[in-house]
């Protein structure tokens, strides 16, 4: 029945083929392999050809039709071959044999089939090929290997004419009929289309895997390239390293050789000189001896006995003979034993494989805030790419005395305690130094006062301050003791007189330079007064920076974001303007009349107290039933607001909502004779949180 497998093309396949397929599991197992064998390969070729030829056609319907036909023809050719074989098979005597072995039910089924088989087959074949063809269209771009993979699965379904169920146990398509009666009876099956789908999914997954692998390999390749470059670089460096070191070693060796040779020559010369000297001496001695012999002989032959005896030459002859003749060799012919010192070379040789010594690091100049009373932060950098295992830090204390000869240490500066400005989170401290000695920098020491006994412990130092001013970040609601030292090459000065700073609320001072000539600042520094609005004498001193029209003054608020709160006390009948202004607000104008100041103005009209909240000369129309005697002013940079309160009853009066481009300063002005008392260092009341 199932005559479409490639087995048919083989001679053995004709014999008991059906039985094998349905009866023997062994045969069945090798089935897929054989599929991809000979018969399939040829088919793959034709398939590829068709795929190639299909590329030649345009994707028009006509072309599609041509292709279809071509594929159909191919299929028919193939199918015919099979058919012929099938017919052989059917006509041969095997059928009876086969039939006789089949159970009756099967036989019935089979008997019905042979007549229609070939026709049906052709039709289904054409359909199958159509599917294949549509497949080619969709997968044209894929590589041929993938295509042949596809083909394998395709081939199975194609050849199983009428097969419409997929047996997942045996991994092959079967007919539904087989599920009911065949050996697949108990197997798990799925509908063919869904099986194909799952198979395609599988293939897609595999492709994804392949793509992944490709990506991995590409990554790996680029990694290899990187390593390749690194290896070249490293080895290049090492070669250079070797060259330098071996050159060094050779040089050292050559030097040693020279030295040794020289020493040897010197020794030789000395020895030869010594020997020569001895030889000369020996000759002289010989001459003397000969002379003596001659003289003695003469004497001996002297006949005059008296004169003979007179000559005392016997004495000196005896004396001469008494002298020992030095026959010892002054020097030995062999040379001194010399130890050739290779230790240096050895060291050089050993150092070749080690990493070269790093260049000297460079110590950074001391940064502000880098030291406390007991510690110092030292930073350094390394310019080359040397490998460093560790650093060795050397230091020694430099006492003042040793440097005194060069430069004297400065005398302590004086903190301008009246100019200190602070808020809850910072303080701005400034000082002056009346020293004739040059000062390189200043150091601020601050200690947080918790208990009395801890007062002298320096908790923090700020060093390297070039100017006579520093902004210190502090914690709120604390008291700090602050001192300053001046430093130069001669050392540091004694501490300045300490000042205390409370970080409760905001402290500011009045900027006397800005005060209108008619405005007086009382001794406490925070009360401003005005006695008369017009001065008959016009010789009052006017500073460049002072208000000329408005009897006002600016405060000096710490330039620090966050919240600042202060209060102003005024008599009920005092007319005033209070608020904030930029430092450069026009001095010839009124506060609140321009766009660089914001203020609350109190004026008394015949009917009532009038309150204005002025900016650029504009005010909202607001009536306040209780004239505030103590006005709270909250400057809140964070929430972009400036609020005014009646501080006595926590009543919100008005809020400017604005975004300050610069830091502002408090401003105060009197419009009638009177007094304004300014209160600073007040903790921000909780009721100011909401207007």
């Amino acid at each position: 029945v199932d005559r479409t497998t490639p087995h048919e093309t083989e001679a053995e396949g004709l014999i008991f083929y059906h039985m094998d397929l349905y009866g023997s599991k062994d045969r069945f197992d090798i089935f897929p392999e054989e599929l991809s064998g000979q018969g399939d390969r040829s088919r793959g070729d034709t398939r590829r050809e068709s795929a190639l030829s299909s590329e030649k056609f345009q994707r028009s319907q006509e072309a599609g039709y041509d292709l279809e036909r071509e594929v159909a023809e191919l299929a028919k050719m193939y199918g015919l071959d099979e058919d012929r074989e099938k017919e052989l098979e059917l006509l041969g005597g095997h059928l009876e044999m086969v039939e006789s072995r089949w159970p009756p039910a099967h036989r019935e089924k089979q008997q019905g089939l042979p007549g229609e088989a070939s026709q049906d087959e052709d039709q289904s074949k054409a359909i199958a090929e159509d599917e294949t063809e549509s497949h080619i269209w969709s997968r044209e771009g894929l590589s041929s290997s993938v295509m042949s993979d596809e083909w394998n699965s395709q081939a199975v379904s194609e050849e199983e004419e009428a097969a419409n169920v997929f047996c997942s146990t045996c991994k092959m398509p079967i007919r539904a009929f087989d599920k009911l009666f065949g050996e697949h009876k108990d197997h798990e099956v799925a509908q063919l289309p869904s099986a194909v789908e799952s198979e395609k999914e599988e293939i897609h997954k595999n492709m994804c895997k392949l793509e992944e692998q490709i990506a991995q390999m590409e990554n790996f390749a680029s990694h290899l390239e990187e390593i390749f470059i690194t290896v070249e670089e490293n080895f290049g460096r090492q070669e250079q390293n070797f060259e330098v070191h071996y050159n060094d070693a050779v040089q050292v060796l050559a030097q040693k050789y020279e030295e040794q040779l020289e020493a040897l020559g010197e020794e030789k010369r000395q020895k030869l000189e010594a020997l020569y000297g001895q030889l000369v001496h020996c000759g002289e001695h010989l001459d003397t001896c000969k002379e003596l012999t001659d003289a003695t002989q003469e004497l001996y032959l002297e006949n005059d006995k008296a004169s003979f005896m007179k000559v005392k030459s016997f004495n000196w002859l005896e004396e001469f003979l008494k002298k020992e003749v030095d026959l010892k060799l002054s020097t030995l012919p062999d040379f001194e034993e010399r130890v050739i010192d290779f230790s240096e070379v050895e060291q050089l040789m050993n150092s070749i494989n080690t990493i070269p010594a790093p260049c000297a690091p460079v110590i950074n100049p001391q940064a502000p805030n880098a030291a406390t009373g007991t510690s110092l932060r030292v930073c350094w950098g390394l310019f080359s790419d040397d490998t460093v295992e560790c650093y060795q830090l050397c230091y020694k204390p430099v006492s003042n005395e040793t440097r005194n000869g060069e430069q004297a240490a400065p005398s302590p500066p004086t903190i301008k305690s009246k100019k200190i400005r602070s808020c809850e989170n910072a303080a701005l401290v400034c000082w002056e130094s009346r020293d004739i000695n040059p000062v390189d920098s200043y150091m601020v020491e601050l200690s947080k006062l918790t208990d009395e006994e801890n007062g002298n412990i320096i908790t923090e130092s700020i060093v390297g301050i070039p100017n006579c001013e520093v902004l210190i970040h502090l914690q709120p609601m604390q008291t700090y003791r602050i001192c300053v030292r001046a430093l130069n090459l001669g050392g540091s000065s004694e501490r300045s007189e300490p000042v205390l700073i409370h970080t409760t609320g905001t402290y500011f001072c009045l900027n006397e330079d800005t005060a209108h000539p008619l405005l007086a600042i009382l001794d406490d520094g925070f009360t401003i007064a005005c006695d008369e609005l017009e001065n008959p004498e016009c010789d009052l001193p006017v500073y460049d920076n002072s208000f000329t029209r408005c009897i006002g003054i600016l405060g000096s608020l710490i330039p620090f974001p966050g919240k600042h709160y202060w209060e102003v006390e005024a008599e009920e009948d005092t007319e005033y303007r209070i608020g904030v202004a930029f430092e450069n607000t026009p001095r010839h104008g009124y506060l609140g009349a321009n766009n660089s100041s914001w203020c609350m103005r109190h004026i008394i009209t015949p009917s009532r107290h009038k309150y204005e909240f002025l900016h650029s000369g504009m005010t909202p129309d607001i009536r306040i039933t209780i004239p505030p005697r103590r006005i709270g002013i909250l400057l809140d940079y964070e929430n972009c607001r400036l609020s005014f309160f009646n501080a006595e009853i926590a009543q919100h009066l008005y809020t400017f909502t604005l975004h300050f481009q610069h830091y502002v300063h408090p401003c105060f002005a009197l419009e009638t004779p009177g007094i304004l008392q300014i209160h600073t260092g007040i903790a921000i009341p909780p009721w100011t949180a909401l207007p």
């Binding site: 129309d621 009536r623 926590a650």
Partner: protein, 259 residues
């Protein structure tokens, strides 16, 4: 029970009310309004959520009581309860808005919602502003703070007030004083009640002499009752006016309710 009819109210619960008890801020609406106007038009929700305030907006009068003449005019009867306890027939049975706002409604709210009964404030608009002021001034300490948009400050002196007070309380003018903010201020004990009032400068009822804030301010100045009165240029009596300054009022109340 006070009004002997079915009453509606609007309530807003802030996210904070899911986890804890919140203060309640009562809103009293103006003439012709229902509980709907404020909750749909004022746009108070964001500020109330931020400060964790429950906002309750009751109706402005009893409804459906079938009292003769209750629907005859817009400034008397339905939608114009004037936050008084009526003493005259036929109103005295149902028109007891003062007691309803003062006792019954808070009791109901506190029993059914996660409120802190100790912390409540009140504000309102126009007739509701009048209601807020008299409730705060008649009950020192009951409300932590009070504020009003264009309130009817001195009803005894204006047409609306004369009609309503006369209708509900009878012709004895001395009885009216108990529901007149400007009169009440004069007998208000020295207490820290911070009053915020916003008034549109272009409010037609201001120029018509219905609101009379100057009388109230003068009385407060005399009695040293702290008031910040803001005359807002270019605003009329509408809900646009309310929506513009509602955040300031919510903050004003939050300051005292969350202190």
């Amino acid at each position: 029970a006070e009004l002997k009819c079915k009453m509606k109210f609007g309530i807003y619960l802030p996210p904070k009310a899911e986890t804890g008890k919140c203060p309640v801020l009562y809103w009293l609406s103006g003439l012709t309004c229902t509980e709907q106007n404020f909750i749909t038009k004022a746009g108070f929700h964001q500020a109330a959520a931020e400060h964790g305030l429950i906002v309750v907006a009751p109706d402005t009068s009893p409804r459906g009581c079938n009292i003769e003449g209750e629907d005859e005019s817009w400034d008397f009867g339905t939608g114009a309860g004037f936050y008084v306890d009526a003493t005259e027939d036929p109103w005295k049975t149902n028109y007891r808005m003062y007691s309803y706002i003062k006792d019954e409604l808070p009791k109901l709210i506190n029993a059914n919602f996660p409120t802190d009964p100790e912390r409540m404030s009140i504000f309102g608009h126009s007739m509701g502003g009048h209601g807020a002021l008299i409730l705060a001034l008649k009950n020192p300490g009951k409300y932590k703070s009070v504020s009003a948009f264009a309130p009817i400050c001195n009803p005894m002196q204006c047409q609306w007030g004369k009609k309503a007070l006369g209708g509900y309380l009878g012709s004895d003018v001395s009885k009216w004083e108990a529901y007149d903010a400007t009169q009440l201020v004069k007998s208000y004990p020295d207490s820290h009640l911070d009053i915020l009032i916003d008034q549109g400068k272009d409010d037609q009822f201001l120029s018509a002499g219905q609101l009379l804030p100057d009388n109230f301010i003068a009385a407060c100045t005399e009695q040293k009752i702290p008031v910040v009165f803001r005359l807002q240029q270019g605003y009329d009596h509408s809900y646009f006016f309310i929506a513009t300054f509602i955040n300031d009022h919510i903050k004003h109340h939050a300051k005292y309710l969350n202190a």
